[in-house]
């Protein structure tokens, strides 16, 4: 019973969260699998595909880092071309080749559904005297 209530709670939250959420929940056969895989792209492409880029992605390389709200077909075409070697890449071919077509399709659906925003870079600080190392 407790579990059912918990799950109902989560279901309600899925609906109420839309206004605030920075991640758009994507219904698929295995949503938790794709969202965790998509999250691993964040080191270069930002949380939920919203990369921190200088000047809002003015130049081509930086613009390519922005995945949130990307056209689904555009994403698919590029990733499959990286995978086949048809399109040259600096590092993306390593990732595209390691993923299967189903995963690339899952990522295309996921990133195209995310809402683009422009996060700013995290400001750095002066190191405290009492830091342990």
């Amino acid at each position: 019973m407790k579990k059912i209530i918990t799950m109902m709670g989560l279901a309600t939250l899925l609906i109420t969260s839309v206004a605030r959420a920075t991640e758009v929940f994507v219904l698929s056969a295995n949503p938790s699998h794709i969202r965790a895989l998509a999250a691993s792209c964040a080191a270069c492409h930002g949380t939920f595909g919203n990369a921190v880029v200088p000047n809002g992605g003015g130049n081509g390389v930086d613009k390519a880092k922005l995945l949130a709200g990307i056209d689904k077909t555009d994403f698919l075409t590029k990733m499959l071309a990286f995978k086949s070697g048809e399109r040259e890449a600096t590092v993306m071919h390593r990732h595209a080749r390691g993923l299967n077509t189903q995963e690339i399709e899952g990522l295309a659906t996921y990133f195209s559904a995310q809402i683009p925003r422009q996060p700013s870079a995290l400001p750095s600080q002066v190191l405290n005297k009492n830091h342990a190392n």
Binding site: G9, S32, H33, A36, T47, H95, R97
Partner: protein, 425 residues
């Protein structure tokens, strides 16, 4: 002082430094009360901070998350070799936790953990205790001084820094390099693998060489590697040293450090005795102290065995281990630590909601090394759960750069900005 859940809420409400939530989170927390579970996280590095954020995000605030971290600031190990090269300052790599706490309603306890009681599901700190439904232990690495007792004291580590946990140790080593005369000898070692950041020591040689070439061109670097060969990006580093820093780098494989004379900065190996003007010893490593305290390691193996679907310890139930402490045949890198944290957070959210965790996790790892102040190269792989072997194995198609480039240097700088923002906001 025992803090139970009700007390904790009171304390937080009173603003006693346990971390206050912002308005948007409060509204959210109201909607989710009572939480479906409490996760306590020990360690706010790449792994722990990421787990905290994604547990809150993916549970839509339904899981209560309490972080216990001894430091007030986050200092990035990635890019810290550039401080030694002189193109970055330690203040470029230092960040606060305020955005992470406020954006996600993570409760924060600034304290040091002294004991873990898995039967009572309770941790004890210097100034209190906490209960948990699930515990995440993400303590990074601990240095082993058993074979190098000369370096065990804080005073010795001032004279001979490890600079393998970024912060004042890094600043100290940079100052020693600045004070070294032209024609001096910089000696550093590589401990036996596995250790934190496989390409890190070799990148350090590049950074120190870059500084010496520009400012003290008669100086030399001797690298004593306990391993039989360069263990990451071998061809690329060998070429970088030969092409960019000819005559500066003297690399010696199979040269484990057996003793150190602190006063004279002399290092002994099985074959050699080497004297340094500046000496940097990176000790052999094992899982962080808390992992040892919580009995998450076996006697004869100093790393933590986990289930790679959940990162739950194989030795202690309801305790998960993340980051460099994990016994994985995988590089101990920051990106890997955040990936493990995301798989773990995802699994805990599923489990607490009564659902099965993802049975086939997949993630990507990209690791850059700088060979000059501007030029970098990558190693990148996708890792996939292997059902038969029950471990993460690298998928086909991964590999390293053909050559370092300034373009990849820009990618590496962008990687840093993005991973910091992902982990800490």
């Amino acid at each position: 002082m025992q803090i139970n859940r009700r007390d904790f809420v009171k304390l937080t409400g009173a603003g006693l430094g346990l971390g206050l939530a912002n308005a948007s989170w409060s509204a959210f927390a109201r909607a989710t009360k009572p939480p479906i579970g409490r996760v306590v996280i020990i360690g706010g590095g790449y792994a722990g901070a990421t787990a905290a954020k994604y547990l809150r995000l993916w549970s839509l605030g339904a899981i209560e998350v309490i972080m216990v971290e001894a430091n007030q600031q986050f200092v990035s190990c990635p890019l810290s070799n550039l401080v030694l090269g002189g193109s970055k300052s330690i203040n470029d790599l230092t960040f606060g936790y305020d955005a992470l706490k406020a954006n996600h309603g993570i409760q924060w306890v600034h304290d040091t953990v002294t004991a873990v009681d898995p039967d009572a599901k309770k941790i004890t700190m210097l100034r209190g205790s906490l209960t948990y439904d699930r515990l995440i232990v993400a303590p990074g690495v601990d240095f082993i001084y058993d074979d190098l007792p000369q370096l065990a004291s804080a005073e010795a580590q001032q004279q001979i820094p490890h600079a393998w946990k970024a912060g004042w140790q890094t600043v100290n080593l940079r100052k020693q390099l600045e004070a070294m005369p032209d024609g001096g000898v910089f000696v550093m070692n590589v401990p036996k693998a596995p250790y934190r950041c496989p390409p890190g020591p070799y990148e350090r040689v590049c950074q120190v060489a870059s500084y010496l070439k520009a400012h003290k061109p008669r100086s030399k670097i001797i690298m004593l590697d306990a391993n039989a060969e360069i263990i990451s990006k071998k061809g690329l580093f060998t070429k970088a040293w030969a092409n960019l820093y000819p005559g500066i780098v003297d690399y010696r494989p199979d040269s484990a450090v057996t003793s150190v004379d602190v006063a004279t900065k002399t290092v002994t190996t099985d074959f050699d005795k080497v004297s340094a003007d500046v000496l940097n010893i990176i000790p052999p490593q094992r899982a962080g102290k808390i992992a040892q305290i919580a009995n998450l390691t076996e006697k004869d193996y100093p790393w933590c065995e986990v289930n790679f679907l959940t990162y739950e310890s194989k030795l202690v139930q309801n305790v998960h281990v993340l980051g460099d402490s994990v016994a994985a045949g995988l590089p101990k890198s920051a990106h890997m630590a955040t990936n493990q944290a995301k798989v773990c957070a995802n699994a805990i959210v599923q489990l607490m909601a009564g659902l099965a965790p993802d049975s086939a996790p997949v993630f990507a790892n990209t690791c850059y090394s700088f060979v000059t102040d501007k030029s970098a190269m990558h190693v990148a792989n996708v890792y996939r759960y292997d059902e038969a072997k029950k471990i993460m194995i690298s998928a086909e198609g991964g590999g390293v750069s053909l050559a370092p480039s300034d373009k990849e240097g820009e990618y590496a700088a962008s990687w840093a900005q993005n991973i910091w923002t992902d982990v800490l906001t």
